[in-house]
Assembly symmetry: C2
Homo-oligomer: 133 residues x 2
Amino acid sequence: MPGMIRNTRQRDAIRRAFEDAGRPLAPEQVLAAAQRSVRGLGIATVYRNIRALLEEGWLTPVELPGLPTRYELAGKAHHHHFQCRGCGHVFELEGCAITTHHALPRGFEITGHEVVLYGFCPECSSSKSKQAL
Amino acid sequence: MPGMIRNTRQRDAIRRAFEDAGRPLAPEQVLAAAQRSVRGLGIATVYRNIRALLEEGWLTPVELPGLPTRYELAGKAHHHHFQCRGCGHVFELEGCAITTHHALPRGFEITGHEVVLYGFCPECSSSKSKQAL
DNA sequence: ATCGTTGCAAACTCTTTGCAGGATT
DNA sequence: AATCCTGCAAAGAGTTTGCAACGAT
């Protein structure tokens, strides 16, 4: 059976990193998480496996303004994201409350949209007073 | 008079690039535009001047998912952006029609948002049938 | 004549690729 | 055993910085 994908400790650890996180992760975050199971794991392997998991349809890219691309489990319903200004973590939000009617100049045709909300996650919200942002 | 900012052909050309474009520009686009007035202009100079114009408050960054940061004239009212899937250009949209109430999990505090619309600009919309996208 | 500014090249960061050794089937 | 996968190091893209020469004041 040629061309078959093999299961390696590295790939398992990378998959588990996404499953356990439950939120979009950037390559460096995946590395940090997966290195807890597989010491010596290289960043190149993380990038290669992310790419493989994208092609396989197991991951989708989450691109946020000004941030390195993150990735999350694929197959979810249309949704958007939230970034905490405290810890920087990105969370998934359910649903979509955009009314697609901006003041759109004539001749423009809309095919899609992206929404990102910013603020503080529960954890940072409660500890905000103690921090110097 | 120490610490005074000087006017150079390069800086003028870079400022003019933004004024003439009327839409957010990425460093490479600024370089291309400004080189029409100043041949030999280097990309480092573009980056340095963009940074200076940011600190001066003349420019604001426009960060879009998955794209190099663009910059536009500062001081405009709250607005969002549109990227054309045909030519890739980014346009400014007036107004903001987001209802800030997504299905937000408990404990999250919203302080801001970003909206990007995608589609086709008038030019690309009319020539779409001729292209193989 | 100062000293801010420029262009070039080197440094950096993030991501991708080449290659020899190692691991899975 | 075959060959996919990994780690390391080198190579690319985009951005920043060091430095000597240039040029605005």
